[in-house]
């Protein structure tokens, strides 16, 4: 990696604008508080400590990413936050109330889209609104109106009556985001939402997500294993390590807002990326070398 040779500023250095922004964020109320969270699975090979002593806080309208190698417990963590799995230790507080089980205050976007295939785009987005109708008396008309607003926001008004199978992956994920946001959750949990998309579509989705975040009152917790994606999108990045899943470091991203793809080559961006690489891919060890016998002729070398 040539990147390491270039002399870069430290990722800890922040421009006055950036540090002012972090000071402003620090004044906002805490939305999500995770306290010494732990999770063990009882597998066939005995107990697996998937998460250990995880603590962090997310403030209102903050964009926080969780990054780490495959199998470090990212999905486990987000599923526990969503209430889909139980935790073994610690506590989760949403607006100071303990989280038990899934609820509409935490929206979730999965990697596998999970749109209801039997419902049109409009009906998918209305799903949560219709559920709450019965309890707080919103009329069906206003639910539809509201859903159409969200669909318009993700730019799919022409597809309101289409079924999920008629949409591309990126469009499906936009519907999934609209569906989650329509419920007005306090926090939006996203588990590698763009992992299955091609690079171009992914770049587009990242920019959509930033626009949505800017214009909607929403706090976002975003799981990814893509370093650049994490830096580009986040205010802070929580870096996990595997076996057991623990927090290695919480990084304040020194890249200024508003974000744009040109920043991928800025000093702050590269410095942050270098730090993340050090944390996630520590110096090459022998494990990475395959025990391959030479099966080509001497002199017939690719390099």
């Amino acid at each position: 990696m040539t990147m390491h040779d270039v002399s870069l500023p430290s990722y800890l250095e922040q421009s006055p604008e950036v540090s002012a922004r972090f000071r402003r964020i620090a004044e906002r109320p805490v939305v999500l508080k995770v306290n010494r969270l732990g999770k063990t699975f009882d597998g066939v090979k005995g107990r697996i400590q998937a998460l250990h002593d995880i603590s962090f806080q997310v403030r209102r309208r903050e964009f926080i990413s969780i990054i780490g190698p495959s199998g470090c417990g990212k999905s486990t963590l987000v599923r526990i936050l969503a209430g889909l799995d139980d935790h073994s230790a610690g506590e989760i507080l949403l607006d100071d109330r303990e989280v038990t089980g899934p609820g509409r205050d935490r929206g979730m976007v999965f990697q596998g889209y999970t749109l209801f295939p039997w419902l049109t785009v409009l009906k998918n987005v209305m799903f949560g609104l219709e559920l709450s109708n019965s309890s707080n008396g919103i009329s069906g008309v206003s639910a539809e109106q509201e859903a159409r607003g969200w669909i318009e926001m993700v730019g799919l008004e022409a597809f309101a009556d289409a079924y999920p199978h008629e949409l591309s992956g990126g469009m499906k994920q936009r519907v999934a985001i609209a569906r989650a946001l329509a419920n007005r959750p306090r926090i939006l949990l996203m588990d590698e939402p763009f992992g299955a998309l091609d690079a171009q579509t992914r770049a587009k989705m990242q920019s959509y997500l930033l626009q949505i975040w800017k214009n909607v009152d929403i706090t976002i917790l975003f799981i990814t294993h893509d370093l650049e994606e994490a830096i580009y999108l986040s205010d802070r990045i929580v870096v996990l390590k595997a076996n057991p899943g623990e927090i290695q470091e919480v990084i304040e991203v020194p890249v200024e807002h508003p974000r744009s793809p040109e920043q991928f080559l800025s000093q702050e961006f590269l410095a942050t990326k270098k730090r993340l690489e050090e944390l996630i891919h520590p110096a090459k060890d022998a494990e990475d070398m395959l025990p391959i016998i030479r099966m080509t002729q001497v002199g017939d070398d690719v390099y």
Binding site: A158, D161, E166
Partner: protein
């Protein structure tokens, strides 16, 4: 023209070829039947006597074993008597295709031998009624039970072990019992269909329900759905098309119990007709009736398949013309990403 590649695993053929081969699936058995019927060299073990000659026990139109016919004629010739004459034929139980085709029409217009006996169409309708009642009664209980067993473990544990046990008991084993309980008319017949269908149905529907994508349930939960709402808003609509497909398969199985059911008590319906015709040795009518069952079965199924693809547009991946137009319109004016719109429709 590109050489068609038929032997690529799971490779779909183009629609025209597909249709040709589908027609072939009927042509091949028909061709075999025709070959056996119209080509004396293939089988024809009998001789139909056209002139008995001097052989006393031969009659015009009687069917005689080929060997016996030649032996008798050789004896007659040796004794300088007039030999018999006849044509090679297949046994009466294997009529030729054209004879069966003829009786297809004839069977419907021929009045019953006795005035109180039903016409063919009445017999058929009677059979269809038995099927409909049996299938309906079974479904009304088995479908809800199967869905519950596939959704809530308590129902699964409370039904499935017994159902597993019971489905091994052959439905005809209950014939005598159902006559004793329900009399000799349609009751026991419907009961046999119900017993034959019900237990398979519970298990099949339960299985289908369990195959619902659990991620959809989780997504619904994060949207605030709980308890009964999860059941009515996710489980039911999610499995409906697959349950519908199960029902089509099960309806086919219900037909297979028909013949057994209809001989229980006093014989009725198409089974009575078949047995009656066999008794009179009018085998072309027997074949016509059997083929009739097949035709009724396959037309119902084709119709139900079509209906299903209309009802569950999202599952059949058909697209309404409206949405097709919409896609074309938006692709031409918006970002390239929407150009992938129809990729999973290919």
């Amino acid at each position: 023209m590109a050489r068609a590649r038929y032997f690529i695993i799971w490779k779909e053929l183009d629609p025209r070829r597909r249709r040709v081969f589908q027609v072939f699936s009927f042509i091949i058995p028909l061709a075999v039947w025709s070959l056996v019927s119209y080509c004396p060299a293939v089988w024809h073990p009998m001789v139909r006597v056209s002139d008995p000659g001097s052989i006393g026990h031969f009659r015009v139109d009687a069917m005689v074993q080929k060997g016996a016919f030649y032996r008798e004629n050789a004896k007659a010739l040796a004794e300088h008597r007039k030999p018999a004459q006849g044509v090679l034929a297949n046994p009466v139980y294997l009529p030729a295709p054209h004879e069966v085709a003829k009786s297809f029409y004839k069977a419907f217009v021929t009045p019953p031998r006795l005035p109180e006996e039903p016409w063919l169409h009445e017999s058929l309708w009677h059979s269809i009624k038995i099927i409909i009642w049996g299938f309906l009664i079974s479904s009304v209980i088995a479908v809800p039970l199967g869905i519950l067993a596939g959704t809530y473990r308590i129902f699964s544990y409370m039904t499935e072990p017994f159902v597993e046990f019971f489905r091994y008991l052959p439905a005809p084993a209950f014939a005598a019992l159902s006559v004793a309980v329900l009399g000799i008319y349609d009751g026991p017949k419907v009961a046999i269909i119900v017993i034959g269908t019900f237990f398979q149905q519970v298990l099949m529907i339960s299985n289908t329900t369990q195959r619902l994508d659990p991620a959809l349930l989780e997504a619904a939960q994060t949207l605030g759905a709980r308890g009964l709402k999860l059941f009515t808003r996710v489980v039911i609509p999610g499995i409906l098309p697959d349950v519908y497909r199960d029902m089509r398969i099960l309806l086919g199985w219900a037909w297979t119990y028909l013949i057994v059911a209809e001989v229980v008590g006093n014989s009725t319906g198409i089974t009575w007709f078949i047995n009656q015709q066999a008794k009179y040795r009018i085998y072309d009518n027997v074949y016509a009736a059997i083929i009739m069952i097949g035709i009724i079965g396959i037309t119902t199924d084709i119709f139900l398949a079509w209906l299903g693809s209309e009802l569950f547009v999202w599952k059949s991946r058909k697209r309404s013309i409206l949405s097709r137009l919409r896609t074309v319109y938006t692709t031409s004016r918006t970002e390239p990403e929407t150009a992938q719109v129809s990729h999973d429709n290919a």
